[in-house]
């Protein structure tokens, strides 16, 4: 029973942490100007290699990169702005 209570406490703590994160993000926790100004090429170089080698733009068609971009957002949890810039870069560099 004690353990079950501790699970409840942990869950409540997690929910609290997520709430704080949500509030922070809603309240305009935007990226700095320098981060927001990053190009798709720079974001491609920085983020893809966190898990695997940087992909060649020629690997997929423009339409396929849209799908791959969404798949990668669910895996690497990059922000939507990053995903759009990276996909635009890959589509334009084919």
């Amino acid at each position: 029973m004690k353990q079950f209570l501790s699970i409840k406490k942990i869950t409540i703590a997690l929910v609290a942490v997520f709430s704080i994160v949500a509030v922070l993000s809603i309240n305009g926790c935007a990226p700095t100007k320098a981060v927001a100004a990053k190009s798709g090429a720079q974001l491609w170089a920085e983020n893809c290699q966190r898990c695997h080698n940087t992909p060649s733009p020629a690997s997929y068609s423009a339409e396929q990169w849209e799908t791959i971009g969404m798949h990668m957002q669910t895996r690497a949890l990059i922000t939507e702005a990053e995903r759009k810039k990276i996909v635009d870069f890959l589509k334009s560099s084919r």
Binding site: F4, C29, P55, T67, H71, T74, R75, T79
Partner: protein
């Protein structure tokens, strides 16, 4: 007079030429315009015909194929035995996994990855994601739970820099039926990401181990799994993560009905170029605590036994790849990993296990790799001698040659 007539004729001739030329030009110009318009119409029809709708389907996938040669030594009660094995595909070295991706517009993504390996045909994941808001994705289905990062991001053969998985890490990351909410958030020059899942949960088996992925829930309690990742540097080179998984694991109405499983994981990923090499450090440490229960003695069903059901698994991996060399040398990558996996003592499966793994990879493309890996394994049994499960000390040295590709 003759001159005047000649001048008059010349004027008429000039007027005729001008009139004829302009008429001819006018006809040519009209004919060109209609030809271009026809072609444009045809092209428009062709483009319209091929213009995709909102539904987009694509298939990618990966395959891994390998060869393993090993020498195994076991010492039990002072008596040693040695065996040698070599084989083409085994569970660690063969996988054929096509992945189907359906995208509907920019809001829905359906993912399905069946997998064929030496364990047979199975499903790695099958889920649908809804991109509800800029940094909010809602998912439902058969999910890889957000516990650590290895299973979700690093386990694929064409990503993993070594031929084997680190012991215990992927095993302690179940796939389960449930719902999930996740996203990445900008935070000034830093980033955060969150991932929370609610699923059926694990099932405690009669020997104290856990099973997962049951389509029929074994109890009415749901398991919460959550991970928070923090990328403190603006270049995203470092990510630190903490995860937890909490829920009841016992079958409803069974003697283990109140059994609870609490799991924690800590992960690290660092990727940075220090000229002339690209350095990549990955690490994860898992802790699993299950309430101590009384289990039926496998040798005497009238008796029971118990043990401290505490498991840990962790690995640290480091790899380097040249960034300033000729194209041939740039394709090599050197990797090393230490793994520790400690299963509960006095159980039927208790073992303290360690592996040291080194490998040299050659990247044929960004997603195609040939790996040569050497691994030494030491397993020291901590299983119950009373239950007859103790199996001494085991040493195994294995050489792997593995090819993996993603298409």
């Amino acid at each position: 007079m003759k001159q005047h007539i000649a001048l008059k004729r010349s004027r008429w001739l000039l007027a005729l030429i001008v009139l004829t030329t302009s008429q001819l030009y006018s006809q040519t110009s009209g004919s060109l315009d209609s030809s271009i318009l026809d072609r444009l119409n045809t092209l428009e029809q062709q483009v319209n015909y091929k213009k995709p709708g909102n539904d987009h389907f694509m298939m990618v996938g990966l395959t891994t194929f390998g060869f393993a040669a090993s020498k195994n030594t076991n010492t039990l009660n002072g008596v040693g035995s040695t065996s040698k094995n070599n084989s083409f595909p085994d569970a660690d070295n063969f996988e054929f996994s096509p992945m189907f991706l359906w995208r509907h517009g920019t809001k829905f993504l359906m993912e399905f990855e069946p997998s064929f390996n030496n364990n047979g045909l199975s499903v790695n994941w099958a889920d649908i994601s809804y991109f509800a808001a800029p940094n909010l994705i809602i998912r439902a289905g058969y999910l890889v739970l957000p516990f650590g990062t290895y299973a979700k991001r690093e386990a694929a053969g064409w990503i993993d820099k070594l031929a084997t998985d680190p012991m215990g890490i992927a095993d302690m990351t179940p796939t389960d039926y449930g719902v999930e909410v996740e996203g990445g958030l900008p935070l000034g020059s830093m980033k955060l990401n969150y991932d929370v899942a609610l699923s059926n949960g694990n099932q405690l088996l009669g020997d104290g181990t856990l099973a997962s992925g049951n389509i029929v829930d074994n109890n009415n309690n749901k398991t919460v799994t959550a991970r928070i990742g923090w990328l403190p540097f603006s270049n995203s080179s470092l990510e630190l993560g903490v995860s937890g998984m909490f829920g009841k694991v016992g079958d409803m109405g069974s003697p283990y009905a109140n059994a609870v499983g609490n799991m924690y994981a800590f992960d690290l990923n660092y990727v940075k170029t220090f000229s002339p090499v690209l350095l990549n450090i990955k690490a994860q440490y898992n802790i699993q605590n299950i309430t101590n229960e009384n289990f039926i003695n496998p040798n005497d069903s009238t008796q029971s036994y118990t043990f401290n059901n505490h498991t840990t698994a962790g690995f640290v991996q480091c790899s380097v790849r040249p960034t300033e060399a000729n194209n041939f040398l740039k394709n090599f990558e050197l990797a090393g990993r230490y793994t520790s996996y400690n299963l509960p003592g006095n159980s039927t499966f208790g073992t303290n296990q360690h592996t040291v793994t080194v490998g040299l990879d050659y990247w044929l493309s960004w997603r195609t790799v040939l790996k040569a890996t050497y691994e030494t394994y030491t397993g020291n049994s901590t299983a119950s001698k009373v239950l007859g499960s103790y199996n001494g000390l085991t040493n195994t040295n294995t050489f792997y040659l593995q090819f993996s590709i993603q298409l």
